[in-house]
Amino acid sequence: MLKKNNIGWLFVLISIVGISLFYFYPMIDAFLLSFQSGMGANLEYTGLNNWMRLFDDPTFISALTNTFTYLIVQVPVMIILALVFSVMLNDPTLKFRGFFRTAIFLPAVTSLVAYSVIFKYMFSGNGIVNQFLINLSIVSEPINFLTDSFWARIVIILAITWRWTGYNMIFYLSALQNIDHSIYEAARIDGASTFQQFTKITVPMLKPIILFTTITSTIGTLQLFDEVVNITGGGPGNATITISQYIYNLSFEYTPNFGYAATVSYVIVILVVILSAIQFKVAGDKE
């Protein structure tokens, strides 16, 4: 008869093989590819050429800048909004709590492609948003949301915020349920304002979950693809292109250059590791 320990290995075997084959092996392959150049399958080792090319590749620099713009603007706005919503909805005396919660969460059930196409149409030149702004006389002429670099980036940021704020809110709401209401009572008696309660009690108590959502949102934003491809296609010019889209274009849109694409993809890996480490360091200063 097999020993218990060995039977245990059988249970986990498929997973170990699958993850090694579909995650770890590709990581090694990508690393080796990043030192090779050539078209399609005709690759040869060219040392650090690909890595040097990164520094004077304008498209890569645009993709990197855009990705960081989304990251720096969108993630904090979304996290703060989600926190505010969750604190408001955590008040047991609030009416229609369930309705508000479901409504704000609802965007999180849509497919990224589906909502992206809807946003594209809503923000098009003669789209519903421009009609609304003109009818309210906020603007006199339609805004070129999708063809102006500045506005195109804003639309992408609005879209992601719409899709993910409710999702993050649910995490905070469930964490808030673990905070004893008497802490707030005590704070009120001591004369703490709502804002002080938020910054001195809520945020510190939710720190682990805020860290978790910040890391997942950061990793998600670094991989941004579906929205940009379907809303702006990366344009106008390369004004909204992301690193993931650039990797896709390098491999499947332009003449395939797998070696350089792998190099660019390693930049995402490096960024994920660095940013996660920084966030851990900043948030976990005491633990």
């Binding site: 990508a30 409504a103 704000i104 609802l106 492609v113 589906a114 809503m122 995402i268």
Partner: protein, 275 residues
């Protein structure tokens, strides 16, 4: 003052609600209107739903796309759950030093961004295309195979297995069940709600997946729903009514799952942070 603050909260939440729901409203309303009316900004339901659906079924291969998406989603959900629950159970119930190390190594894969492994995966499937054409490039199998072993779900099942009563296993052994028999006969039925939560998340992930199918599926008869919608969305003279009806159809399954299984849905989502 308190009343004023209350009003402010309600106003804020109401605006957020309108912004959250409006795109859904517009999507559904537009699917009942002719393309011209959609462009004119019509906000009321119209009478063109049947016409839009007829156009959709005549001009676009939506039935094929729905079928492909359904096949991929069902198979990948089934396999993901089976493989991940076996592993989650194995790692928790047969703990050993070696397995704990292996588990932590597997968890590292959660940090790997998909974009980083997309090109090597494409090459991998390209290479096996000759020897195993059934799972090579441009097959439905290739579209879900890399997604069925994920550390996230192994972690999810392991966390939930911690709550599984160990006495049941001993009872099963005394009854003469094999170790695998205990898993299938006792563990699986007991953990129904865990499976339900995981199934919802796995199904949604698969139904909505875009990038990998875009890379690996080339021929039109292999298209999935997200690929089809992306194509429709980039057409030069879009038939808005028709496209909106396609998007409504694509959104329906996940929306229904959400409304009818909200509790499991949230449980699945939160599974990653528990404990």
């Amino acid at each position: 003052m308190k009343k004023f603050k209350r009003m402010l909260v309600y106003t804020f939440l109401s605006i957020a609600t309108i912004i959250s729901i409006y795109p859904f409203f517009w999507m559904v309303v537009s699917s009942t209107n002719a393309s011209v009316d959609v462009t004119r900004g019509r906000q009321l339901p119209g009478t063109h739903l049947i016409e839009n659906l007829t156009n959709l079924f005549d001009q676009v291969n939506i039935v094929t796309a729905l079928t492909n998406s359904a096949i991929i989603a069902v198979l990948s959900t089934f396999l993901t759950l089976l493989i991940a629950s076996l592993a989650g159970y194995g790692f928790e119930m047969y703990r050993s030093r070696g397995k704990d190390i292996a588990f932590n190594v597997l968890l590292l894969s959660m940090m790997i961004p998909f974009a980083a492994i997309m090109v090597p995966l494409y090459r991998l499937f390209g290479r096996i295309s000759h020897t195993a054409p059934l799972i090579g490039l441009d097959t439905l199998a290739a579209a879900f195979l890399p997604t069925i072993t994920t550390a996230f779900f192994i972690f999810f099942f392991r966390q939930n297995t911690k709550m599984f009563p160990k006495d049941l296993i001993e009872a099963g052994r005394i009854d003469g069940l094999t170790e695998l028999g205990i898993f299938f006969r006792i563990y699986m039925p007991t953990m129904k709600t865990t499976y339900a939560a995981a199934a919802i998340i796995a199904f949604m992930n698969s139904w909505n997946n875009f990038l990998w199918p875009l890379v690996v599926l080339q021929s039109p008869d292999k298209q999935t729903i997200p690929l089809l919608i992306s194509n429709l969305g980039s057409s030069y003279s879009p038939d808005y009514g028709m496209i909106m009806s396609a998007i409504t159809i694509a959104t329906l399954p996940t929306a229904l799952v959400f409304f009818f299984m909200q509790k499991h849905f949230v449980a699945g989502m939160m599974g990653s942070v528990k404990g």
